[in-house]
């Protein structure tokens, strides 16, 4: 499946916008991603091992927080995972 990496995090994926992984669940996909790009870990997970609250992960069009099985939701190859961190830019002095 494809994982879409937002601009602010591409620094940690060698500027790759999309990373393909083989994974059975959302959690599995994120683990595989971090395995390939370890610098992503502190940007996605807090010290408590949970996804940081300013990082949203969407499986296709749905926020995984609202899926019945959350991170353990099963995935297949045609699914798309999108990471959406908060961005604040606008005025840009």
């Amino acid at each position: 499946m494809n994982i879409h990496i937002p601009t602010p995090l591409r620094t940690y994926t060698g500027q790759q916008a999309t990373v393909s992984v083989q994974a059975k669940t959302v959690d599995d996909a994120l683990e595989t991603l971090i395995g390939a790009y370890p610098d992503l870990k502190p940007n996605l997970y807090g010290a408590d091992g949970k996804l940081r609250s300013f990082v949203n992960v969407y499986l296709n069009d749905d926020d995984i927080r609202y899926l019945p099985n959350k991170e353990l939701t099963e995935t297949n190859d045609s699914d798309e995972l999108t990471i959406i961190p908060s961005i604040a830019g606008g005025c840009c002095r």
């Binding site: 602010p8 609250s53 926020d63 830019g89 606008g90 840009c92």
Partner: protein, 405 residues
């Protein structure tokens, strides 16, 4: 009944206005009554920068009757790459005054209400109460949360837009039934994790694209037509030119708009975002005109550009390190070796001096070099200093021939 009431309350259009808005009037979804609604509408633009500029211009052109503008800043030459509401002639002028000139030039019927101030917890509710819709075009997390909470507390919808480099987000928050910004992002990222536009740069047309999407949502909210972005997040990728919308849900446990809200008044948003009050002496641009010589920030002594120039004149032995990005180097540099702050941790071995040698770190404005200095200190270097104000300050105080960017 309601319709009759509206007809009575809505302002009449003059013949000049009818001619001006002709292309709206022949559009059945707008029509005469829609144009009256636009004329009666009061929209507050928080920020007249990259997003606020196209947003305010198009709302003025469309015939929105009253536009409020909140901005504390003045126009800088580096704004003009994207802030099309300002112009070369108005560099140095207050942004609210500069914006008014352009807006009134476009549509003299417009009523402009200027707030030359920073939006704060003390003034937000008072400013918001006179408007129907708020358009958030700010550039920092503190103000984003402030605008969100003030919208919830005053019951005003928020046409939201945000940008980073080549990427944008847009939505409509805080409608009666829809989610708010806190439903999407309960907490801000810690300071320093996400670079600001001033550090990261932004493609000039991107805020134009996103600001006009915000303006479109404002117009739809006023007219009551179409499907707004309430409950959806639009993601814009300008490089791939991809647009996607994702579902947003109202979080029943949201501290601002949930069933048992805990945010019942505005809070200290600097504290909420982990940001020091801008009044304290720091290495950032806010402190650039203060004498920082002898101050220490997070264990890092700050030195001025005068201190650095003197060290060079004296022939002192120290290592000067530039932590900007390679593409910034040809614009202006102090001749120092370059290791970008993002890769410093993994390239510590390339620092060619002993752990107790004096190291001065610099960047463009002094913010990234402060971070880099902390990284070096944590890696065991004991005598690391930050050049306050960076290369910009050097250009101002030491070498006026140096380019500022």
């Amino acid at each position: 009944m309601v319709e009759t009431l509206n007809e009575v309350e809505l302002p009449k259009l003059s013949n000049e206005e009818i001619a001006r808005y002709s292309r709206h009037l022949i559009l059945p979804e707008v029509g005469y009554e829609g144009q009256q609604k636009l004329k009666a509408a009061k929209v507050l633009c928080v920020g007249t920068g990259g997003l606020g500029a196209p947003l305010a211009l198009y709302l003025a052109a469309a015939g929105v009757g009253t536009l409020g503008l909140v901005d504390f800043d003045t126009v800088d030459a580096s704004n003009l790459q994207r802030q099309v509401i300002h112009s070369t002639k108005t560099v140095g002028m207050l942004k609210v005054d500069s914006a008014e000139i352009m807006l009134k030039g476009l549509n003299p019927n417009l009523n402009v209400v200027k707030y030359n101030t920073m939006l704060t917890s003390d003034n937000a509710l008072d400013i918001f109460k006179d408007f129907d819709i708020i358009a958030d075009g700010t550039d920092n997390f503190q103000t984003r949360y402030l605008v969100n909470d003030a919208c919830i507390l005053t019951g005003k919808p928020n046409a939201y837009g945000s940008i980073f480099r080549f990427e944008g987000q847009a939505s409509v928050f805080a409608t009666e039934t829809g989610p708010c910004y806190r439903c999407l992002y309960p907490e801000p990222p810690p300071p320093g994790l996400v670079p600001s536009c001033a550090e990261g740069g932004v493609l000039g047309i991107l805020p134009g694209l996103v600001g006009i999407i915000q303006a479109t949502e404002v117009i739809k909210l006023i007219l009551g037509i179409g499907d707004t972005l309430a409950g959806r997040l639009l993601l814009i990728d300008a490089l791939g030119m991809n647009f996607r919308t994702l579902k947003l849900r109202k979080n029943p446990d949201c501290p601002a708009c949930g069933t048992h809200p805990t945010v019942t008044q505005l809070i200290d948003y600097d504290q909420f975002c982990g940001i020091e009050k801008p009044t304290s002496v720091g290495p950032l641009e806010v402190a650039k005109d203060k004498n920082v010589s002898g101050t220490v920030v997070d264990g890092i002594p700050q030195i001025t550009v005068q201190d650095l120039a003197q060290k060079r004149v004296n022939g002192d032995s120290f290592f000067l390190l530039d932590v900007r990005e390679p593409h910034e180097y040809p614009i202006a540099n102090l001749g120092a070796p370059l290791i970008p702050v993002g890769s410093l941790e993994s390239r510590i071995a390339e620092i060619p001096v002993a752990k107790d040698a004096e190291i001065v770190v610099h960047c463009r404005s002094g913010a990234r070099s402060q971070k880099a200095a902390v990284i070096l200190k944590n890696a065991g270097f004991t005598h690391v200093e930050n050049l306050a104000g960076g290369i910009l300050e050097w250009a101002d105080k030491i070498d006026p021939t140096m380019a500022k960017y």
